[in-house]
Point group: C2
Amino acid sequence: MFEAPYLLFLGDAPDGLAAKMAQGIYDWRPEAVAGQFRMEGCKADMGVKDMTIKEAAEAGIKTVVVGVVNRGGIIGESWISVLGEALEAGMDVACGLHNLLRDEPALVAAAEKGGSKLHDVRVPSVKYPIASGKKRTGKRCLAVGTDCSVGKMYTALAIDREMKKQGLKSTFRATGQTGILIEGNGVPLDAVVADFMAGSIEWLTPDNDADHWDIIEGQGSLFHASYSGVTMALVHGGQPDALILCHEPTRETMRGLPDYALPSLEQLRDTALTLAQWVNPDCKVAGISVNTQHMSEEEALAYLKDVEEKMGIPAVDPFRQGAGRLVEALQCL
Amino acid sequence: MFEAPYLLFLGDAPDGLAAKMAQGIYDWRPEAVAGQFRMEGCKADMGVKDMTIKEAAEAGIKTVVVGVVNRGGIIGESWISVLGEALEAGMDVACGLHNLLRDEPALVAAAEKGGSKLHDVRVPSVKYPIASGKKRTGKRCLAVGTDCSVGKMYTALAIDREMKKQGLKSTFRATGQTGILIEGNGVPLDAVVADFMAGSIEWLTPDNDADHWDIIEGQGSLFHASYSGVTMALVHGGQPDALILCHEPTRETMRGLPDYALPSLEQLRDTALTLAQWVNPDCKVAGISVNTQHMSEEEALAYLKDVEEKMGIPAVDPFRQGAGRLVEALQCL
């Protein structure tokens, strides 16, 4: 869709979570990332070389990738001049936000001037069907979370990478902008029209070999008042054989919803399984993926042990420990 | 949005359910309907005067309303010539389907020729916010169903009509094309982009007087694999104080999903209540609305009595019995 090397644009990200798109690209395609651009007050940092737009052009950057999200998915007003400068210097700009680059006259003008391109990866490019609910061949695993931004994409990518390493048949199925940038294709689910959400996921995960796994990236949370409908479409469209529960134990309230505490892993398990078994009676919860980035190693291991005993299924942090035990659990279903 | 008198276009509807949009308009605005147009093989019938397009023009019809839905919500190819004839004769055409009248060149040309207008009521005209999940003032009631097309809109309209008759403060909140045609405003929820679904319902049912009821039209079903995400957004965006369970007892498989039986009323109650109480812990299931149109009076009354005893809450068919007992139940919550 667009070419490396990338300059990751982190804008004025208020925290690391706001730059999860950039983090995802860097974690899974580090070889494609040559630098980052941070505005004043930016609280995110990928740990790569900071570049000005001039330096980026001199370094041969092909694409500036907007790797930051603000609430509502809008292109920040303060970003326009920076992105415009990059476009005028001949670099493409890629963006997965709700508001489109192509709707910003200043950017359209800058791209024309620089002979560069605007890539709105968020716009669905396929006419999705209405979901049929018909049973499909092959295996599917869906990551579901107690909240948004708890590591569902990371978990799915780690499982897919581990499966491939073991010589198993596996495909990462991207459902969000970052995942699509990483995988090269997918469904930008949160931009799909309501009636076609589940159908788009059926389309993304078609009939396959009996021993092939689709590892489906999750979105939102069944318990997140803003986005639960999107998650529901993944559960019913994805027809999962296995669910991986994803959680971030230090989160006190749900992302963007200060009035809501997170559900427990038991609540997530019971609700997600009940809903998933409606379309696939054999669906099971295979394991738990915990994002322990805000805990010490000792705390993390103690927490994982505790959760594993309480829930009776493997609980790991794939970032610290790899996804081997999750893959083992999927193979034993 | 467009003017009466209407000619209801029933096209080649394979059954009465396919013409539920026309039926809804006729049930709630009978004074606006002057006739119907049925093509060969049409199995739907509103019981009003059949008219040719020529007769409709002579009778002073202002708008031909497309009152038929086929799977996927597409404008039938065989409809184009009829609708084109109406447009050329100077009548407007209104339509709530996925495919837009404005995207059919033959219709655009016919409208230009006839000086008439195309009304695509399905296109959202508002930029909806992301849902905040914040508690709102006023009371809200949401109709949820064991399946699509079981009478959720009818139930909501009947409750609203009964509340107004009793002098209570009530507003019918339309979430589908038919409801919007009836009420004059609302959210065409199934056409809203995924991320904004719950936000659109918050927008539709804002803060209100403590004793005011929003009676929210339901969509889809939490158990319908194609549309459950849409229903989920209604449950979390609507923040209901009360749920009315809607059911059609003679339905053997879910609409459009021949592989799926309907869930039980108990399954619907437990799942819907669990999900609704996440955003409104005080939410209760107030009553059950049963569509007994395919049962005899005797069968219907026996069934309702049985359900009421089993579930412990009022069970009525508002079409046969009115919505009085449902309103009473809502007032007693």
